[in-house]
């Protein structure tokens, strides 16, 4: 777990510390498929993946890749912040042997008074820097010298505030 991150210290365009996982082998894929009880043959049956689904090999589960995106943001937000929203599309495949680099970049910052809301762009790159899982996320953070984001998270803590949005300079 990293040191707490405070809303006051951030600016649009900042990159999050990236998370690297891999190389991800067929054993990693098998372990996830078993832990999640996902029996889809494209993750363990190469003949089926290639012959039936016309894939180049078995593929790393999208449901596994979601974890690294969530982990990137929960590690960054720490226990005093909160990952509120995250969405992503499985646009590209990742294959056994690839090392994945999970990244995030701040798009906009919204000042809600006691707390701050950070909107981010996120994704997963492979060794060739091909993006497979583009998405966006919203993280709520405390301010320096302010209270932790209340847990459980309640969206009402952000209502009634005039958000001051700072966008990425283009």
């Amino acid at each position: 777990m990293m040191n707490p991150v405070y809303f006051d210290d951030l600016k649009a365009g900042d990159a999050l510390p990236s998370l690297r996982q891999g190389p991800i082998s067929t054993a990693h894929i098998m372990r996830w498929s078993a832990a999640s009880e996902n029996w889809h043959r494209i993750h363990f049956d190469r003949e089926y993946a290639v012959g039936h689904d016309k894939l180049p090999n078995v593929i790393i589960n999208g449901s596994w890749k979601q974890n690294v995106l969530v982990q990137l943001l929960t590690d960054w937000a720490g226990d005093t912040g909160w990952l509120w929203k995250i969405g992503f599309q499985f646009r590209g495949m990742n294959l056994p042997g690839e090392t994945l680099q999970v990244w995030g970049k701040i798009l906009t910052l919204e000042d809600h008074g006691v707390y701050g809301v950070v909107n981010l762009e996120i994704g997963v790159l492979n060794d060739a820097e091909n993006e497979s899982t583009p998405g966006t996320a919203t993280v709520v953070l405390p301010k320096r010298n302010g209270p932790a984001v209340p847990y459980p998270f309640d969206t009402s803590i952000l209502k009634g505030k005039t958000a001051n949005t700072k966008a990425v300079a283009t």
């Binding site: 777990m1 996982q21 990693h28 372990r31 996830w32 078993a34 832990a35 999640s36 009880e37 996902n38 029996w39 889809h40 043959r41 494209i42 089926y48 039936h52 689904d53 016309k54 589960n61 999208g62 449901s63 596994w64 979601q66 974890n67 690294v68 969530v70 982990q71 929960t74 590690d75 226990d79 909160w82 990952l83 509120w84 929203k85 995250i86 969405g87 992503f88 599309q89 499985f90 899982t133 998405g135 932790a148 847990y151 459980p152 998270f153 309640d154």
Partner: protein, 170 residues
């Protein structure tokens, strides 16, 4: 439209009952899950780290994976030797089956909103509904997109997370 009929469109809005997960949040399952996800955050196993959350908790997306095969239910692998069997039902979340003549299934992506972690020992409940069913032309031909919403909550109705899933049939 090639595959979507009025009967399919009539399923939009179909809902499940509020359904209880197969087991309560069990430490053996959360351990196997976070290890396979490669996200060893201390709040999952360390009492001190879990204190802010009322005790040790499960990874954010864990509630999705609590709806496992129940005792005395049919074996999903019983038909795995059939040519198009991939281990996945098209009756998503126990909603009415989406019958289209497309044999391949891919995970299209997730959109989450998180409020609270599920804590060890808690019972978890889910309610689902079909949000949308539509088709698009892709590089490999026509694809059918099925989108469904879930809400996850504790026994007393405390929200855990909301999720929209996109599944692609092709």
């Amino acid at each position: 439209m090639k595959y979507i009929t009025e009967e399919h469109l009539a399923l939009i809005g179909a809902e499940t009952e509020l359904t209880e997960a197969t087991h309560e949040v069990q430490s053996s399952e959360t351990r196997r899950f976070y290890q396979a996800a490669m996200d060893p955050a201390p709040r999952y196993f360390d009492d001190k780290a879990g204190a802010r959350f009322g005790g040790n908790v499960a990874p954010p997306v864990f509630p999705l994976y609590m709806f496992r095969r129940g005792h005395g239910t049919p074996d999903p692998l019983a038909t795995i030797d059939q040519p198009d069997a991939d281990g996945h039902t098209r009756a998503f979340r126990g909603l009415p089956e989406i019958k289209v003549d497309l044999p391949r299934l891919l995970n299209g992506g997730y959109e989450y909103e998180f409020f609270r972690y599920a804590r060890l020992g808690e019972r978890v409940f889910r309610k689902s509904r079909y949000r949308d069913i539509y088709e698009r032309e892709g590089k490999s031909g026509t694809m059918v997109f099925v989108r469904f919403d879930d809400i996850y909550q504790t026994e007393d109705g405390t929200p855990l997370l909301n999720l929209t899933t996109t599944v692609i049939l092709r």
